[in-house]
Amino acid sequence: MSTQSNEAGMVLLEVEFTGGLELLFSNQRKHKISLPGSDEKGQPATAAFLVRYLCENLMKDTRKEMFVMDGTVRPGILVLINDADWELEGGDLYELKENDNFFFISTLHGG
């Protein structure tokens, strides 16, 4: 199975940050991004590749540990792919599809 990318080999995604994570991404909640359909090794781009890509290209804040830890999103962040928990979709291994919506939300504890 190969990643669904467009003619230019790029995948267009909508990425959304909330629950405080938007502060790490120029205080902007919604981003339209276009990233390569294949990862560094020529494999189809996965959710793990997206997380690395966001960290290196979209995140201006230097506190990377606020977003990633041990090579994946840090504990306390839920990732939803098209409104469903990414664990239901394969987690890190999920292959990106054109127009996917990725929703990153940091959990809250206040009451």
């Binding site: 839920l78 959990t107 809250l108």
Partner: protein, 292 residues
């Protein structure tokens, strides 16, 4: 049966008629409410409106747990307290106010901060638990205690302009090991957030109506769980300043390796009650990160 006496029905109708005439509640639903026991852990911005609506709806017993006193900075969102209550016990103040709203139901007062050791015995006495607390460590031990006592858990939280809502452990885990059991808090958040990533209401603030909406949705869910116990768990986030403020999420996944609610669980009632599980340590990201 004394429940079916005309005079009994009539007195219920006068007080609760506006909810009994709905097919979703009805006379039978009102009787279920009258016999139900709901525990509210935390009487802050979530617990105040939740307690108020449940008292008015006529649950049988309302348990109130909190160890704090009322502060001026609570008043914008903690709707059971008045200016004159600053400095008073939250549980005792709430009790007085709730009794004025509905004097015919039973209240239990627990004027202390709940601990993992005490939670299972307390939860045993209730049908539905509402987690209205405000710390990550209590979120974990309340979920664990709900799992070991097999109680459905209504969970919500709020910060800034945002709220989160989840129905956890419904149907309760460990009853028959079937696939229909709902996830617990640890299924969704197996590892705690490090404290430096977590902001509190004192730091980040919280809007009164945001936490208020979440608290009332919790009360509604308790009523649903009592009157229609087989309803599907659901998950929602509320983002007050967004263009689409309410968003439903699909988080309904049970972790087959969950340390609390799976067949491989290592957290037991005995461990919780022994006090040997240090949840503050667990959430603080210090030593023995993964003992639990």
């Amino acid at each position: 049966d004394q429940d079916s006496r005309p005079s009994y029905r009539q007195s219920k109708y006068q007080k609760y008629g506006r909810q009994m005439c709905m097919p979703e509640i009805g006379f039978d639903g009102q009787i279920k409410l009258t016999k139900s026991k709901v525990l509210i852990v935390g009487l802050g911005g979530l617990g105040c409106p939740a307690a108020g609506y449940l008292a008015r709806a006529g649950v049988g017993t309302l348990g109130l747990v909190d160890g704090d006193t009322v502060e001026t900075s609570n008043l914008h969102r903690q709707t059971l307290y008045l200016e004159e209550d600053v400095g008073q016990s939250k549980v005792l103040t709430a009790y007085g106010r709730l009794r004025q709203m509905n004097s015919r139901i039973h209240y239990e007062r627990y004027d202390y901060r709940l601990t993992p050791e005490k939670a299972p015995k307390l939860f045993d006495q209730y049908d539905v638990i509402l987690d209205c607390t405000d710390r990550q460590s209590s979120r974990y031990f309340i979920s664990d205690a709900a799992v070991v006592t097999r109680k459905p858990l209504v969970h919500a939280s709020a910060l800034g302009t945002m709220g989160q809502f989840m129905v956890l452990n419904n149907p309760p885990s460990l009853i028959d090991g079937n696939a229909h059991q709902g996830p617990c808090y640890r299924c969704i958040f197996p590892k705690p957030m490090r404290p430096e990533n977590s902001r509190s209401c004192a730091e980040a603030g919280v809007l009164g109506p945001v936490v208020g909406v979440m608290g009332i949705v919790m009360a509604m869910e308790a009523i649903k769980l009592i009157t229609q116990p087989n309803s599907t768990p659901w998950y929602m986030i509320y983002n007050a300043y967004s263009k689409e403020p309410f968003k439903m999420l699909n988080l309904n996944r049970k972790n087959q390796n969950c340390v609390a609610c799976s067949e491989k669980c290592t957290i037991t009632r005995e461990l919780l009650e022994s006090g040997s599980l240090d949840y503050d340590e667990f959430c603080g990201g210090r030593i023995n990160y993964d003992v639990l």
